[in-house]
């Protein structure tokens, strides 16, 4: 009886369940990952065995979240492996170009089908007044990340920056590699595949760094992002009109922090998990809220996506429009950021998010000379006050766009902005601070940690690397304990303020 029950329970843990994917912060992932690490150690001496082990685990990881759609990974791998091979081997320029366009069509076609079909149906319905029913299309896990990763491989071969890889096993490994499946980083083949070939041993330094990253990722994701999300940001963004401008503004600042700690926390964990297996992935964030301009922000925010779009969308467009001088640059930037917006999801809010960033950047091109001349004339170039103002405006301009990023639709976004500008009620601020002490404290703490100097972080990391094993275990246990406290904490009570 007991045996039967247990077996069934284990089976449930291993089969596809849409509501229970293997996310890094789940306890199931922790167990599965420990089991994987154990097997990995056992098989470590044989490189093929260990790579096949990781490929199998990655398929399991994907299957847990997307069921039968794990086959999608095989399709992407095979299509791009052979396309890359054929593009690299093609003798005539025309054949090369034709093959290249075909692989763009296949990859982007798949992405559009899975992600945007229903969005287009919606638009057609609005434009033509028709009532076409939306299709029942499943969205495979991390599809936008995986397709962009695969695309960079064929593009780099077409641009002759890399040679096609000879081993279909290694290429499959590159596409399937589970730490990058859910939310990137959008790794370039030129960073990952040489590591697979070189096969560097896992050093003590890598393990220490991995632990540091996993701890920092857990804290960012569970203690800050999830907690302020559930207890504060979601409530305001679900019904902005029930709150004053102060609360809406605080929710906007809190959401910008939530978005950053969620995504960079996830990325830290992905990088950490990968280091345990011996592979260094590309970091996606470099203290983005320290940026002094919008362009600077995009060099620090979701770096693997922004550099992808810079190299493969902006630069070709810029070449195309070069006859238009400065307007060409502005137009290329605007289109690039529209694509970045749409890439995030099939919703007008994301398109507007991209369009606003595109407009910011285009404006900054047109006003660059004006601003430089002004600073020169007033002798303010590189002065502290200018730097502070640049930071202040950049930060608030970014936060403004994250309102659209978070809002479930455009109406909600307008409500948030409307409350901030027409129903502010500054007197509520102190009530807010006192009523939401923990939330407010976490927001302040989150931003403070973000703004501490970079070398402090490096020193902390070095310290953890040097800590003896037992010390590391204690630290990890403490972090896990803290994470559990926050994960299972009661919801904060709802508060209504008087004004």
């Amino acid at each position: 009886m007991f045996q039967y029950f247990d077996l069934n329970k284990i089976k449930l843990l291993l089969v596809y369940d849409k509501t229970d994917p293997l996310v890094f912060t789940s306890s199931m992932f922790l167990f599965a990952f420990f089991a994987l690490l154990f097997l990995y150690r056992v098989l470590y001496k044989s490189k093929p065995a260990r790579i096949y082990l990781l490929i199998s685990f990655s398929i399991f990881f994907y299957y847990k979240a997307s069921g039968i759609y794990f086959l999608f990974l095989f399709v992407i791998s095979f299509v791009n492996y052979f396309m890359g091979k054929w593009i690299g081997g093609a003798q005539s320029r025309k054949v090369r170009l034709a093959l290249f366009l075909l692989s763009l069509l296949l990859n982007i076609g798949l992405l559009i089908y899975f992600k945007y079909t229903n969005f287009f149906i919606q638009i057609i319905n609005v434009v033509r007044g028709s009532q076409i029913a939306p299709l029942d299309i499943f969205l495979p896990l991390g599809i936008s990340f995986i397709i962009f990763k695969a695309l960079s491989y064929v593009i780099e071969i077409y641009l002759e920056n890399i040679e096609p890889v000879n081993s279909i096993r290694d290429f499959t490994f590159f596409i399937f590699y589970f730490p990058t499946l859910q939310m990137g980083p959008i790794e370039r083949a030129s960073n990952f595949l040489p590591q697979v070939e070189a096969d560097n041993p896992i050093s003590k330094e890598m393990i220490g760094t991995a632990l540091f990253l996993i701890m920092s990722g857990l804290l960012k994701k569970v203690v800050i992002a999830d907690y302020i999300g559930i207890n504060f940001v979601d409530r305001v963004f679900d019904s902005p009109l029930r709150f004053t401008g102060v609360e809406n503004l605080m929710a906007a600042y809190a959401y910008a922090l939530q978005l950053y700690t969620d995504f960079s926390g996830y990325t830290d964990m992905a990088l950490g998990v990968s280091l345990f297996l011996g592979y260094r992935l590309t970091d996606n964030f470099n203290a983005p809220f320290k940026a002094l301009s919008i362009a600077d922000f995009w060099r620090r925010w979701h770096i693997t996506l922004s550099s992808w779009c810079l190299d493969y969308i902006f630069k070709p467009l810029q070449m195309k429009f070069r006859g238009m001088n400065i307007f060409g640059n502005a137009l290329a930037l605007f289109i690039t950021f529209l694509v970045i917006g749409i890439w995030h999801g099939a919703n007008w809010t994301f398109i507007v998010f991209g369009a606003i960033h595109g407009t910011y950047l285009a404006t900054s091109i047109f006003t660059k000379k004006l601003r430089q001349n002004f600073y020169k004339k007033t002798g303010l170039t590189n002065s502290r006050i200018v730097k502070f103002l640049q930071w202040f405006f950049t930060f608030n301009l970014v936060v403004f766009t994250t309102i659209f990023f978070r809002a479930s639709n455009m109406t909600m976004a307008f409500y948030v902005i409307k409350q901030i500008f027409t129903f502010f009620h500054a007197e509520v601020f102190m009530q807010f601070v006192l009523g939401y002490k923990l939330i407010f404290g976490l927001i302040v703490l989150g931003y403070l940690v973000h703004f501490i100097p970079e070398n402090w972080k490096v020193k902390t990391q070095e310290l953890i690397v040097k800590t003896p094993l037992i010390g590391k275990a204690v630290m990890l246990a403490f972090v896990i304990w803290l994470v559990i406290q926050f994960r299972f904490a009661d919801l904060q009570p709802f508060l209504y303020f008087q004004f």
């Binding site: 920056n161 630069k315 070709p316 810029q318 070449m319 070069r322 001088n325 060409g328 640059n329």
Partner: protein, 81 residues
């Protein structure tokens, strides 16, 4: 070898006084040579040499040496044609 003519164009477009340009020099090693000024330099080269690049030719270039060789190649095909 990077010609004086190419160097002159780069200096002028980036408003620099002098610069050590080797074959292996890449854009990110030159102050001010970012993705926006990159295209100004390309356009200035096209005007100065009276040549026309294809988009893909420019995207493939990895350093100044390759840019110089591309210009040289364009010039020989222009004079030969």
């Amino acid at each position: 070898m990077i010609s004086e003519r190419l160097k002159e164009i780069v200096l002028q477009e980036l408003a620099l006084v002098d610069l050590d340009l080797q074959d292996e020099t890449t854009a990110d090693m030159v102050p001010g040579w970012d993705s926006l000024s990159h295209i100004q330099i390309i356009v200035a080269i096209e005007k100065n040499y009276k040549i026309k690049f294809k988009g893909i030719e420019i995207l493939k270039i990895k350093n100044i040496g390759e840019l110089q060789r591309l210009i040289d190649k364009k010039l020989t095909t222009v004079s030969a044609g």
